[in-house]
């Protein structure tokens, strides 16, 4: 199974809308979701899409390990490799 790319994640973020102050085409890898104006509900929405696409189950505790896009990609792709 393929892994989750940054571009694919950006598309999932775009599905939740993009704040006027946020440029998703810039280097966002280490910018927190909060700073990008994606709150916890938006993150749940993004994670639900990832769960459905990759058949994963994530817990709410996992949210703390995914504060930035880079952390999210590392965490999710780590699970996919392990799976």
């Amino acid at each position: 199974m393929s892994n989750l790319t940054l571009d694919a994640l950006k598309q999932l973020m775009r599905n939740c809308g993009v704040s006027e102050e946020t440029d998703l085409d810039s280097d966002i890898r280490q910018v927190t979701f909060e700073e990008l104006d994606y709150d916890s509900l938006a993150l749940l929405q993004i994670l639900a899409q990832i769960e459905n696409r990759f058949g994963l189950r994530l817990s709410e505790d996992d949210l703390d390990k995914m504060r930035t896009p880079e952390e999210l990609l590392n965490f999710v792709n780590g699970l996919l490799i392990g799976a």
Binding site: G17, S19, L41, A42, A48
Partner: protein, 422 residues
């Protein structure tokens, strides 16, 4: 004096007693236009803004026409992050509220957050959003239901999003009394001002023209099945055969007059001068319905008599029995053909929670411009509705005081008096 005084201390110590509740800003998105002046122009023209129901992908329902705001799209008007979290009815609220605040020219940063309140009316909540998520539930499973369903469908969503967007942390609420809600919300806003709020964003919108919303509305048995937009909604006439639903509504900014003076608010459209609300006896009761009492309470609350009222904006359900009862109540208070009565909603459909708010806006603009908007439609008046219905064109005359009536399905009656402020 310490800068961190509480709202209570401020209202007790350094503020005069609450003055009149004045409307300082108006915004509207309704069939006929986006923006106050567009909506007003359509009403004065008597434009028929009811048309074929196009918001349904397929229409197998016994409802052929509606008052749609076809040109309205959230894109470009509502920030995209906010737009995906909210239903169309909230988009309409957000845009109308923004217009009203711009019109009021209020510097929100200069006002204490806990003295700004939001009260909206909602009749259906986020049905279109909810239907989409419910479809995902049964077609794909629970994990496909979006997280935003939790905040988008429920009645208080518009109030909450307006509150968050504009940093209004005073008393906030939502009122669900179907078509009466728009008036009830404004009355609640006046209470908030009396309790120490300085500025309230209030009014109502609705947008329930999706299959789920339409089916829910059909259950009351009062919708018109007529396919000709010109003939579908003809209140008080011999052709009255049900009403047409619409979407949209209006939002206003209401302020304590002292506060409005203090900040130099540029406009006073009028004051919310009186309000009365009643609830009808159950169907089959021997007791009479109570719209008349609501009218009398509103006039008494405004400390005026029937002779002071220049125009009545009617509820105008277009069900013969309901029209007769409304004409009777108006006649009992004002005398037969004793006051001009108008129903601009015959051109937009009933907007539910948006309807009362829109009528209040039109009443305030009647005061501003000295003209009563017309009731679209040309059918003969029903013999048992002996009212002076304004039709065939607007009626120019000075308007100082207007009475707005609304009845919500299930027994709600509300009457609101707005009056010119000099």
């Amino acid at each position: 004096m310490n800068a961190t005084r509480t709202a209570t201390e401020r209202s007790d110590a350094s503020r005069p007693a609450a003055g009149a509740a004045v409307v300082t800003g108006i915004g509207a998105v309704a069939p006929g236009g986006i923006g106050t002046e567009e909506v007003w122009a359509a009403a004065l023209e008597g434009r028929m803004s009811i048309g074929p129901l196009e918001r349904l992908p397929e229409n197998d329902y016994p409802l052929r026409v509606a008052g749609e705001v076809r040109e309205f799209q959230a894109k470009g008007r509502v920030p995209s992050r906010l737009s995906v979290e909210t239903d169309r009815w909230t988009h309409l609220s957000l845009v109308a509220a923004e217009m009203a605040l711009a019109d009021a020219q209020a510097d929100l940063d200069a006002l204490p957050a806990d003295e700004m309140a939001v009260v909206t009316a909602s009749s259906s909540g986020g049905t279109e959003f909810g239907q989409r998520e419910i479809e995902r539930l049964w077609s794909a499973g629970p994990s496909h239901v979006g997280a935003y369903q939790s905040i988008a469908w429920f009645y208080a969503a518009s109030t909450g999003q307006i509150s968050i967007r504009h940093g209004m942390k005073g008393p906030c609420g939502v009122i669900c009394t179907e078509e009466a809600g728009g008036l009830d919300a404004l009355a609640q806003a006046r209470r908030n001002l009396r309790d120490g709020a300085r500025l309230v964003v209030t009014g109502g919108t609705d947008a329930s023209l999706c299959p789920y919303g339409v089916v829910a509305q059909l259950s009351n048995g009062l919708l018109s099945t007529e396919a000709d937009p010109e003939r579908a909604y003809q209140p008080f006439s011999v052709n009255a055969g049900g009403y047409v639903p619409g979407e949209g509504g209006a939002m206003v900014v209401v302020e304590d007059e002292h506060g409005a003076d203090e900040r130099g608010a540029p406009r006073r459209y009028g004051e919310i001068a009186g309000y009365g609300a009643t609830f009808d006896p159950p169907p089959g009761s021997s007791r009479p319905p109570t719209l008349r009492t609501a009218i009398e309470k509103a006039l008494a609350d405004a400390a005026i008599t029937a002779g002071d009222v220049d125009v009545v904006f009617a509820d105008a359900l277009a069900i013969p029995e309901a029209d007769r009862l409304e004409a009777e109540a108006i006649g009992a208070v004002f005398g037969e053909r004793g006051v001009p009565v108008t129903a601009p909603k015959a051109g937009t459909g009933r907007l539910y929670a948006g309807g009362g708010a829109l009528d209040v806006m039109l009443a305030l603009l009647s005061i501003r411009d000295g003209v009563i908007p017309t009731t679209p439609g040309s059918a003969e008046l029903a013999a048992d509705c002996p009212i002076d219905l304004v039709r065939g064109g607007p009626r120019e005359r000075p308007v100082r005081t207007a009475l707005v009536l609304a009845r919500g399905h299930g027994g709600f009656n509300s009457a609101l008096v707005v009056r010119a402020r000099r």
